[in-house]
Symmetry: C2
Subunit: 327 residues, 2 copies
């Protein structure tokens, strides 16, 4: 039996898994990334996470054939170069090569949300939908596109960047510098900006001042849920706008390219699925032309934290990706 | 040598061509569709157009192997059924079968803009771009998607419906019933609606009252150009908004799926390419994330009226479409 490792590198945590050749997860490990995000230090943490997971699996190092790493950045998968990860403050980092040299295994590198979508396609509820789009909403919004059963990266490695689909010309400012991106309305970034405008400029009230006083600097999905349970009108409206915008983006995907299925997930949707999913589904139906969504499955992700690391580990084993392994 | 016919059925005209097996056009014919759009009458006109083109080509009926027909509607290509063509007032018409019975040849039926995109892919400047999106702007806005060298129709046969991509939540009303569709801003429909709002409600002035007094009911692209040449501020602004919206939709496509090339065409872009193309290109650059458009070719269509009929004629000959011929 062959075994493989998968690593999900985020701005605040590293999540590592070991799988067997059926894709079953044998062990997991999670390590926090602190304030120190220097490349050398983070690479050391990745090694630690990998070795912890390996120890827990009971396997030897020589049992592991390949390592897949998912990073929060567009990636040149051919060269294993992370192009730009604002959450880490990294640009043009040869992470594939660095890990290969550190860990002594062939390394495959790709974008985290691409890998999450591929994980869902390979092992989740979206299995066997060969034309699939994944949309994941948390602080920002990311996605991935499976076309004909293969991950489509795009000529500039930016396919899947649904967070920067313009859904509202002249809409709210996005961190990318443009206005009206999906992320600027539907991500927690967008929700916070909406609340700031209403509270700080228009003088409206929100329960978040009590639930999570530092909400302007970032907020947990569970705090949003609590505010909604407390009937906070502003938060209800902001989350409603977020869900509608996601539904509109999904309908846009159906109108543009006609996928078989869309899988949605990520922190805010997982936490508030009972609110998000009905709005997303009804919005898709309304905005898809000529019944185009009637046969499209709208699936809620259930792999959670495993999706990205699993997608990364599995991708490194796929025949179509062997040419991308840094050996 | 084998020969094939292609028909482009529109709401106001029928355009027919005869091609040889290299895709060279041997003859063309064009017939107006008048007020009478009853199915039987229009089928007669199609037959006439086909036979006129055949006469001009100097070929015999027995030389023609197949007929491809493009219609202004979503199409179930498997059954050759036109689903809904508001320009003709037709719904659920078995046009493939009717033409096959009338003309005695195997018939392939598909959407007109899909066929235009496929024509451009097969013979135009977009040749060899295996991941290609086509956007065509006239009265409305339509498109087509070539994925991996094949036309992608989508599970509900609605792929390519870029005209109904929402680019402005809560934006102008579209004929489809939703708000903020690309078509409602970028098509002539959208341009006219903008002008009506400014002239009829806000009391502003436009040269169109002199150039084309019936502009509220429809307008030629050349009249728009004349108004711009006369420095009509309203028309300049409306066309500018149209071009920006098309650029934003193109950037959206690049961010979502990362195509190799986008081909743009259609009446208003062909007539005002010097205005449209620079705005479209600069908007794409601004709205594409992380340099995603740097290697994407933005191509202006040059096949003009031939594109759709050529795409239809050629599609009927493709191995992947033989199963869709109504025999």
């Amino acid at each position: 039996m062959n075994y493989y490792a998968g690593i999900d590198l985020g701005g605040t945590k590293i999540y590592g898994i070991i799988i067997n050749e059926s894709g079953e997860i044998l062990a997991r490990d999670k390590i926090k990334v602190g304030e120190n995000k220097e490349i050398e230090s983070v690479i050391e943490l990745i090694e630690k996470c990998y070795k912890n997971a390996l120890d827990k699996s009971g396997l030897k190092e020589s049992d592991i054939k390949t390592i897949g790493i998912a990073v929060p950045s567009a990636v040149n998968v051919e060269s294993g170069i992370l192009l730009n990860a604002p959450n880490l403050g990294w640009k043009d980092v040869k992470i594939g090569l660095m890990l290969k040299e550190r860990l002594g295994k062939p390394v495959y590198t790709d974008n985290d949300v691409n890998m999450g979508t591929f994980g869902e396609y390979s092992f989740g509820k979206a299995k066997n939908h060969k034309n699939l789009y994944g949309i994941f909403a948390g602080t920002g919004v990311g996605g991935g596109y499976i076309s004909g059963g293969k991950l489509e990266r795009g000529i500039g490695f930016t396919a899947g960047e649904v967070g920067h689909l313009t859904v509202k010309i002249d809409g709210p400012r996005c961190n990318c510098g443009n206005n009206g991106c999906l992320e600027a309305i539907a991500g927690k970034i967008g929700i916070i900006n909406y609340l700031k405008k209403k509270v700080d400029i228009k003088g409206k009230q929100t329960l978040l001042d009590a639930i999570s006083p530092e909400w302007r600097n970032g907020i947990g999905s569970s705090a949003l849920r609590k505010a909604i349970q407390g009937k906070d009108k502003l938060v209800i409206k902001a989350v409603n706008k977020s869900a509608i915008a996601i539904g509109i983006a999904c309908a846009g995907i159906i109108n543009l390219i006609g996928v078989d299925a869309i899988i949605v997930g990520g922190g805010i949707i997982e936490e508030m699925a009972d609110i998000y999913m009905p709005i997303i589904k009804s919005t898709i139906k309304k905005y898809s032309i000529a019944g185009g969504s009637d046969n499209v499955e709208i699936i809620q992700s259930e792999l959670g934290d495993d999706a990205v690391a699993l997608g990364a580990a599995w991708s490194a084993t796929r025949p179509e990706n062997i040419k991308y392994l840094i050996k």
